[in-house]
């Protein structure tokens, strides 16, 4: 029988044209519909399987076995892109019908077998693991179907150490059983020969929650499980040492992926998106996770979390203070990471992180000669500078076209063009915005300056006004807010105190208080309350006779200044709650700052020298300009006031309307070295020889990538 089956993949692929009317030309239309992943098989003459590392050698032909969730198993020659047609009598290309619901595919490193995990196998009437011998392509593949006792989740190749002998090649299959989650080690050479009961005889490990992902060390004897257990802390990571009995305490280590400072209550939604991957040196474990999107790094032996932005000991590298401030420990990614491919060439160890947005992003997993920091994104160059776009001005919610150029009556950053920076050689000032020059702390994002704008997260609808002993002030309490944590302040260092705008549901007509909105200054800030005082004698704080007992909607705004907010960075400040009070954070830094002033003449009503306002206008004065210089961790700028002519045709400041916005985009100079591989890459790109082979779900393209050059060598339907 075996001899009969030695129709080889080579012969089969050669016969494609004759038997299935196929063409060796690239197909113009999509063939792969819903790819779930692929395996690569490499064979030399006589259909002899060879290890994947030999795939690029002369005389070796590679084929991709693509698991299509809608169609079945498709086989494609990577030599010429031709597809094998499993049913030449049906128009178009037919896949091998697997008969059920496939969820994952893996190919053995020796190219002998391809395995498909079936959530439901119609042939055996149960979940299964299908083993396909790569030599059997030309026949009606004699799939060997191994029934499984429980719902399978994922699987991976590993090796079970034996006393005195070579490790036994196994397949670790994670399953969700009525009694809980189990990971079972099934010997590879027994797949397809076992009964469901037989599987219970092999070593297995019980873990909490549901195992979603499996990673394996290079030698295969240490397994890492990514599992989700909402009742036990959310996302968990477990290290299994297969060389030890499951009953031994040190055989496994489990840690949570919860962020430091979280309440530990877990999360109903898993945040790990792909399998843990061990770095080529075996020292670290990379875990793709989302919200925030990034790669979490762990010590592979202890599973201690690594803060990749911390200062590097014994070096001048201070780390990334912005990431530390934002509480981000991981390697940040621009989109959800799906899986990781490790690459070690003996000189430089790298990882390629596949993003849902369709990029493979390079990461150095070890420190380099010039950079002492490991776990850092590869950059296209080290001399790239961040840039800023022209500001967009919005007044009353409407965009004012090119206001920085055409509308002197509106505030701006004082420049209409990009000009060389006289203070930093080789740098530029973008429409008045000067980047600080440290691209690591200049993330790509949109920044908004909002005049007397709301402080993000501080406004609410459940405010209650409480009396105070002095009878003059009142306390606004909202137990759902954290006023310290959002950065509300009572005024400091030349900045006026913030204001609260009360907006009762119904207009008030109560003594001196008539209207729909009432403003007060913040005298004191506590975690869930603000002590308010009148801004004007004519507007006292309302008593219960005016507003009743209903909760009051309120806004908290900066006063006579601009709220500077980054889309991801947020409203930077140095306050935090400490029991019943606010305190300055231990890592306070003046560059974590979000209130900008407008450069104004020394006294109200004082005129200007020119209109538009030019930088250095003496009517504003050196002190005025200096006071208005805004600097944060990413950039500096000075807001110039709008101006107009008064009745005597002399230039004066034009007042700014509240909520006027100046919006610009920063594009970070940290340009990752990456390659576009379509959209939504399917799990499991495979390193075969010196190429990476993968498939994307957005376009249904099989791609070959040169990971060293970071180029797309080939893409085919």
């Amino acid at each position: 029988v075996k001899q009969i089956r030695t129709f080889t993949i080579l012969l089969a692929l050669a016969a494609v044209t004759a038997t299935a009317c196929s063409s060796t030309e690239d197909y113009p239309n999509r063939i792969i519909r819903r790819p779930l992943g692929l395996a690569v098989v490499c064979q030399e003459a006589g259909a002899v399987p060879v290890p994947l590392e030999r795939c690029g050698e002369a005389g070796v032909i590679a084929s991709a076995w693509i698991l299509d969730g809608d169609a079945g198993l498709l086989v494609m020659s990577l030599a010429d892109g031709s597809h094998f047609d499993a049913d030449p009598f049906v128009p178009g290309f037919s896949a091998f019908d697997l008969g059920g619901t496939p969820i994952a595919i893996r190919g053995a490193d020796d190219s002998r077998n391809v395995y498909v995990l079936m959530l439901e196998d119609d042939i055996v009437g149960a979940p299964s693991l299908i083993q396909v011998e790569s030599e059997d392509l030309a026949l009606d593949l004699g799939f060997q179907r191994q029934p499984l006792p429980c719902r399978p989740e994922t699987f991976e190749f590993a090796a079970l150490p034996t006393a005195g002998g070579d490790p036994v090649p196994i397949i670790m299959v994670a399953m969700s059983c009525p009694a809980g989650s189990r990971v079972v080690a099934i010997p590879r050479d027994r797949v397809g020969t076992l009964s469901v009961d037989d599987i219970g005889l092999f070593p297995s490990w019980s873990v909490p929650g549901t195992v979603r992902h499996i990673g394996v060390s290079d030698e295969g004897t240490v397994v890492y499980l990514g599992h989700h257990a909402p009742a036990s802390g959310g996302d968990l990571l477990t290290r299994l040492d297969l060389g030890m009995l499951p009953s031994e305490p040190s055989a496994s280590i489990t840690v949570t992926l919860e962020e430091p400072g979280s309440d530990g209550s877990g999360d109903s939604n898993p945040r790990v998106r792909g399998a843990p991957a061990v770095t080529p040196d075996g020292k670290f474990l990379y875990v793709p996770r989302v919200l925030p999107d990034g790669v979490a790094v762990f010590d592979a032996a202890t599973l201690d979390r690594v803060d990749v932005h911390a200062p590097v000991p014994d070096t001048p590298d201070p780390g990334n203070p912005l990431m530390q401030r934002l509480g981000i420990l991981d390697i940040p990614m621009a989109a959800p990471p799906l899986f990781i491919i490790m690459l070690g060439n003996g000189e430089v160890d790298r990882a390629l992180v596949a993003l849902e947005s369709g990029e493979l992003v390079g990461v150095f997993t070890t420190a380099g000669e010039e950079d002492p920091r490991a776990h850092r994104i590869e950059l296209l160059g080290t001399d790239s500078r961040s840039v800023a776009s022209a500001p967009v001005t919005r007044v009353g919610g409407k965009v004012v076209d090119r206001a920085y150029l055409l509308r002197a009556d509106l505030p701006s950053f004082g420049a209409t063009e990009i000009s060389p920076d006289p203070e930093q050689e080789g740098s530029f000032v973008y429409y008045g915005i000067r980047m600080r020059g440290e691209s690591r702390t200049e993330p790509t994002e949109a920044w908004t300056l909002s005049w007397e704008g709301r402080i993000p997260g501080a406004s609410g609808t459940e405010g209650r006004l409480l009396p105070t002993d002095d009878g003059f002030t009142r306390v606004l309490e909202d137990l759902t807010r954290d006023f310290c944590g959002t950065g509300v302040q009572a005024g400091s260092e030349g900045l006026p105190s913030d204001i609260v705008v009360l907006r009762p549901d119904a207009p008030i007509d109560c003594g001196e208080l008539v209207g729909a909105a009432f403003e007060y200054q913040v005298l004191e800030v506590r975690p869930t309350s603000l002590r308010l005082a009148p801004l004007y004698a004519s507007m006292p704080l309302p008593g219960p006779e005016c507003i009743g007992d209903d909760p009051i909607p309120f806004e908290v705004r900066v006063r006579e200044s601009w709220a500077v907010t980054g889309a991801r960075t947020g409203f930077l400040h140095n306050l935090e709650s400490d029991g019943d009070t606010c305190r300055i954070r231990d890592d306070a830094d003046p560059l974590f700052h979000a209130r900008a002033l407008t450069a104004l003449p020394g006294s109200p009503g004082q005129g200007l020298s020119s209109c538009p306002v030019r930088f250095g206008d003496p009517e504003i004065g050196d002190a005025g300009w200096a006071a208005a210089l805004f600097s944060n961790i990413a950039f500096s700028l000075t807001v110039h006031p709008g101006c107009r002519s008064d009745a005597d045709f002399l230039p004066v400041v034009a007042p700014t309307v509240r909520d006027t916005e100046l919006v610009f985009q920063v594009t970070s100079g940290s340009n990752p070295r990456q390659i576009a591989v379509g959209g939504l890459p399917a799990q499991g790109f495979v390193l075969a020889g010196d190429r990476i082979v993968g498939v994307d779900a957005a376009n249904g393209l099989v791609m070959e990538i040169d990971p060293e050059a970071m180029t797309l060598v080939q893409s085919r339907y």
Binding site: E356, S357, D505, A506, P553, A697
Partner: protein, 398 residues
């Protein structure tokens, strides 16, 4: 020759028990019936229909059918006493909102009407039950906001303020209608008199397909609007004040990474049972988009589950076994199938073949009902995991 030139479009009344280009389908809150909206897409009849189907027996209840306008949008059902009592349906053909009464006969069959119902004829909406909404809204300058082509509709949580009875909102429901053409979101309330009261409007981008209300508090609501023409889930904040005044403001939309440029983006949406996840059908590429819901009512993208074809709408099913499992059923218009997605595993766990051109889907009891637009049918799928016919099409109603 004369016959060849004759035009009999919109000359015949629709048939009470026949689906004709059905799109939207909604379950009665009682769970015993679903309502199928036929659009009369080819203008063969004088109008479309809304036809009840009995869930338990999977039979068409043609005696309950009502004729509605042409090219109807989504249907929303107002609940009272545990069952649907009013249907609100926007009509794209004439930019009306039709208000349907849902009564039950002695056999507990839903009887839809839209004004007086004569025993021997298929009822249709009388003018008094149709509200022209195409030019109802005004902007701050008093200019008309073009609200033609209404499509999306949803009913929000009832106002139970506990305030005095003179609160103008007490006991009323908010409901929202949005346009496919220019994208204004119209905010209405409706009370026991079943007469919609227009409150306010806010301009969003054209292409609104589906709406979801997220109540932040009794008076503050977030509206999420999926957009089929731009890569956005649009966000509007609605504030219903004590005084009766309603404020509405658009906020920054939520976008996904641009993976393809099909010009065709979001379609149907639904919330998970616990309200923590938003599911949205996406077409660039074909996928189910998952979002974590923030406390501020804004969705945060979590990831995409790849699908294929032209996914349309979705429904969420959680088996009544006390577990926290749920599945998302997504129609594929191209593939004549329904994908079943496990949202925690982010994995397609089944694909069920149905009739031609499936678009709308509703789940009632342990059955999913799918409108087959091209075939003029409704496919019935068993979704109870303990059933011997689990995930099979058990009937195709025509």
């Amino acid at each position: 020759m004369l016959a060849g030139c004759a035009n009999d479009q919109r000359s015949q009344r629709p048939e009470a028990g026949t689906f004709h280009y059905p799109t939207s389908i909604v379950a009665d809150p009682a769970g015993d019936n679903v309502y199928v909206v036929s659009t009369n897409f080819d203008s063969r009849y004088t109008g479309g229909t809304v036809i009840p189907i009995d869930v338990a027996t999977a039979t068409i209840r043609s005696e309950g059918t009502v004729e509605v306008g042409n090219f109807a949008g989504e249907l929303a059902i107002l609940e009272s006493g545990g069952r649907g009592v009013v249907g609100l349906i926007p009509i794209r053909d004439d930019d009306n909102l039709e208000v349907l009464d849902i009564d039950r006969n002695d056999d507990n069959i839903p009887i839809l009407s839209c004004g007086d119902r004569k025993a021997d004829a298929l009822p249709r909406c009388e003018p008094a039950r149709r509200v022209y909404i195409g030019e109802m809204a005004r902007d701050a300058d008093g200019e008309i906001i073009d609200s033609r082509d209404p499509f999306a509709v949803t009913i929000g949580r009832q106002f139970i303020t506990g305030a005095s009875s003179d609160d103008p909102l007490e006991g009323r429901h908010p409901f929202y209608v949005a346009s496919l053409l220019d994208g204004p979101l119209l905010v209405f309330t409706i009370g026991e008199d079943r007469v919609p009261r227009f409150e306010t409007a806010v301009s969003l981008s054209g292409g609104i397909h589906s709406l979801i209300e997220i109540p932040l508090s009794t008076r503050e609501r977030i509206i999420l609007a999926s957009n089929r023409m731009t890569n956005e889930i649009q966000v509007a904040r609605i504030h219903f004040r004590h005084s009766g005044r309603v404020d509405a403001a658009a906020e920054l939309p939520v976008t996904l990474n641009q993976l393809a440029t099909s010009g065709d983006y979001f379609r149907g949406m639904a919330l998970s049972r616990d309200g923590k996840t938003l599911y949205a059908v996406y077409r660039s590429p074909a996928a189910l988009a998952l979002f974590d819901m923030g406390e501020d009512g804004r969705p945060v993208p979590r990831g995409l589950v790849a699908l294929y074809g032209r996914p349309g709408t979705l429904a969420v099913y959680a088996p009544p076994d006390g577990s926290d499992r749920e599945w998302v059923y997504v129609t594929d218009f191209w593939g004549d199938a329904v994908y079943v997605v496990d949202p925690i595993a982010m994995l397609v766990v089944d694909r069920i073949t149905v009739g031609s051109g499936p678009y709308g889907i509703a789940i009632a009891g342990s059955r999913a009902f799918v409108t087959d637009f091209e075939e003029g049918a409704v496919s019935v799928i068993e979704v109870d995991p303990s059933s011997a016919r689990f995930h099979e099409e058990i009937a195709r109603l025509k």
